[in-house]
């Protein structure tokens, strides 16, 4: 059932204005100057954020699990650059990059990681549960497979309410072993839902390699079983990701149904802060992989498009912004303990 055959009336989702079919158009040209800078700004922001917060965490300044998305910036940014503000994204335990790429506020993200009252979730969520409904970042599920369920449901809501919106689920390669991954792909397929499933194949599910988790490590090929397109994309190349995601989003938006995108990338850091990486991968493997840096790729691809100095300018601004966000978090008050008992039943 897709919106063109649906007879349900329009129901705007809370806080987001409805659009009708006529507003469905082609994606904006990725090579516009402003967007190029924006893409770099976001990728660099994620990098800087992860570096800065990892250090703060090591210094004992914040607590709780910490899953760095360093090295996967091009996937987060490439996908979100292909989306509209009122499209939505669901995420995993490794979600900082997704939240930043979808436009969430750095200060409030930091404050959430610091468990402060000014955090997006008022300190109730933490690093694995950032949500910003205003930005269509409808949240992380650190339950492997969870993000797919939520995005499928969001896509179903858009379909039923005939909104030209797309729901994107970021998932890890580890999610492919989970039954619900298959269930949700199947539901989205038979109902032609406006959903895009992005599997960030970063080579590992904690210590586990794709080859250990399935005989057929080409995750994109799973799509065929569900009768939907499966696309493999170079997850280090933000423009390649942007293009694949744009095509999938357009397809979804115009009633074509879901797409499975496998973005091949590499997890630069340990699974989480404190992970005993040496038990399962050699430092050299990591060093080699890191030579292929999504930020360098961007610089190379855009060297003749962006005047010298511009990116350095952006880097300076971002660095200041991240430091400001950290300061904001540190200076924010902890939540009032009484709020712990509010918001449930």
């Amino acid at each position: 059932m897709n919106h063109r055959t649906s007879t349900a009336q329009t129901v705007p989702a809370p806080g987001l204005s409805d659009q009708d079919a006529s507003s469905r158009g082609a994606a904006p040209d990725v090579r516009s100057d402003a967007e190029l800078r924006e893409i770099f700004r976001l990728m660099y922001t994620i990098r800087r954020f992860e570096v800065t917060l990892e250090r703060a965490h090591l210094e004992g300044d914040l607590y709780g699990p910490f899953h760095s998305s360093m090295g996967q910036e091009a996937v987060s940014v490439g996908v979100c650059a292909a989306l509209r503000l009122d499209d939505v994204v669901t995420s995993t335990h490794r979600g900082h990059g997704h939240a930043i790429a979808k436009g969430a506020d750095l200060g409030r993200i930091c404050a959430e990681l610091w468990g402060r009252s000014t955090g997006y979730c008022r300190g109730k969520g933490g690093s694995m549960h950032i949500v910003s409904m205003d930005h269509g970042f409808v949240g992380q599920s650190p339950i492997i497979g969870g993000s797919g369920m939520l995005a499928t449901g969001a896509a179903l809501a858009f379909d039923l309410s005939r909104e030209a919106r797309v729901a994107v689920a970021f998932m890890g390669d580890g999610a492919v072993g989970q039954g619900v991954f298959h269930e949700t792909l199947n539901l989205a397929a038979i109902w032609k839902l406006p959903a895009v499933f992005v599997v960030e194949n970063n080579g590992y599910a904690h210590s586990f390699r794709a080859e250990q988790m399935q005989l057929n490590p080409d995750i994109a090929t799973r799509a065929a079983g569900f009768g939907i397109p499966g696309v493999v994309v170079d997850g280090i190349d933000v423009f390649a990701v942007r293009e694949a995601a744009g095509a999938a989003a357009d397809r979804a938006r115009t009633g074509g149904g879901p797409t499975l995108i496998e973005a091949k990338c590499y997890r630069w850091r340990g699974h989480n802060l404190g992970d005993a990486e040496h038990l399962y991968r050699a430092r050299q493997e990591v060093q080699e992989a890191r030579r292929d840096d999504p930020l360098d790729r961007f610089r190379a691809a855009t060297s003749d498009l962006i005047p010298p100095g511009v990116l350095e300018e952006i880097e300076k601004r971002v660095a200041a912004e991240v430091d400001g966000a950290v300061r904001f978090a540190r200076q924010s008050p902890p939540p009032d303990p009484r709020t712990a008992l509010e918001g449930s039943l």
């Binding site: 059932m1 055959t5 649906s6 007879t7 349900a8 009336q9 129901v11 705007p12 989702a13 809370p14 939505v88 669901t90 955090g119 997006y120 979730c121 008022r122 300190g123 109730k124 969520g125 549960h129 949500v131 910003s132 409904m133 409808v138 949240g139 599920s141 339950i143 969870g146 797919g148 369920m149 939520l150 995005a151 499928t152 449901g153 969001a154 896509a155 179903l156 809501a157 858009f158 379909d159 039923l160 309410s161 729901a167 039954g179 619900v180 269930e183 949700t184 199947n186 539901l187 038979i190 109902w191 509010e342 918001g343 449930s344 039943l345």
Partner: protein
């Protein structure tokens, strides 16, 4: 105007009213569209509201419930039907880790207003994997309301509220009630969650139940009347929120309590009510409150075996006699 309808007709009407009064409402489940529901609870709804709003789907409980959460978060009001309560075990993650928690975890940015309809219980000899009574699990999951009506009128009144509140509701129906009849007014007024009802006035003992157990308590009460025992029967109607006040008020004159449910007694919700009553009404109690729940075994197939382990009116009556010291307590 007063009509008499069956319990399942009430479930159907309640859903039809929700579908027609609120565009955000839709239904998902197996066999509920063209087929009309294996218990006829959605008969005619797909024709009337369209297959997109009364959605048949493959057998996939986890993603069915999880998609319900995602849709609810984006502003819809899903009704998700889990055909047998036993199958909730296939979708626990969506209910427990997602539906119940998203509002709290997100600092109130998200809401998951959805009604999870399911039916359970014994009596049709479906065997151990199709006869469980599992609502007690969900008292232990903050964020979920648990509703269990006992009459057609309550089905409509409680459903009206359940589909309007801003949090997920587990709406539990007992299969054995579907064909029971009762009167309903038009329209039925919404019943607030957390308000129980006194089904029978009595002096000597208070018997508390939900769903099917309420009718069994009334049968037991008539039985006991002949023995000169006057039983007050309370229908909690919802377990979360819990109408403790009503129970305590009743105990203030009966001073004796029996809590009845078909669920296995061990770990069942009666333990919660007994503990609350003891903590907050100890002085009202002239004798230990007792539970009338099923024995700690799966529900067997053969009727002779089921009769031995399932809590029924005979057990309720016996527990009342024990609570009143007429006979000695024995588990």
């Amino acid at each position: 105007m007063i009509r008499e309808i069956t319990f399942v007709e009430a479930v159907r009407e309640a859903q039809a009213e929700a579908l027609s009064s609120d565009d955000r409402v839709f239904i998902m489940g197996q066999e509920l569209g063209e087929y009309g529901g294996v218990f006829r609870a959605t008969e005619g709804l797909a024709e009337r509201f369209g297959a997109h709003r009364v959605r048949d789907m493959p057998i996939a409980e986890q993603s069915m419930l999880g998609a319900g959460v995602g849709a609810a978060v984006m502003g819809m009001r899903p009704i998700v039907e889990v055909m047998f309560m036993d199958f909730i075990a296939c979708g626990m993650d969506a209910i427990v880790n997602h539906a119940a928690k998203v509002r709290y975890m997100s600092g109130d940015q998200m809401r998951a207003p959805m009604v999870i309809r399911t039916q359970g219980g014994s009596g049709t000899h479906h065997g151990s994997q199709h006869s469980q009574t599992l609502e007690s699990w969900f008292l232990h999951v903050p964020g979920l309301a648990v509703v269990a009506p006992s009459t057609p009128s309550d089905v409509k009144g409680l459903f009206k509220t359940s589909i309007q509140v801003d949090h997920p509701v587990l709406f539990v129906e007992h299969r054995a009630l579907y064909r029971t009849r009762g009167t309903v007014s038009d329209p039925v007024a919404p019943i607030p969650l957390g308000k129980g009802a006194i089904r029978r006035r009595g002096e000597d003992v208070t018997v508390v139940g939900i769903g099917k157990s309420v009718g069994q308590a009334l049968v037991a009460a008539r039985l006991l009347e002949e023995e000169g025992v006057s039983v007050e029967v309370i229908d909690l109607r919802t377990l979360v929120p819990l109408d403790l006040d009503l129970v305590l008020k009743s105990l203030a004159h009966t001073h004796h309590l029996v809590v009845a449910h078909e669920a296995v007694e061990r770990g069942g919700w009666a333990g919660e009510l007994v503990s609350r009553v003891v903590a907050e009404g100890f002085d009202e109690l002239d004798a230990p409150p007792l539970r009338a729940g099923s024995k700690p075994v799966p529900v067997p197939f053969a009727k002779e075996l089921e009769a031995e382990m399932i809590a029924d009116e005979r057990l309720i009556a016996e527990r009342v006699r024990q609570a009143l010291g007429i006979v000695e307590y024995a588990r």
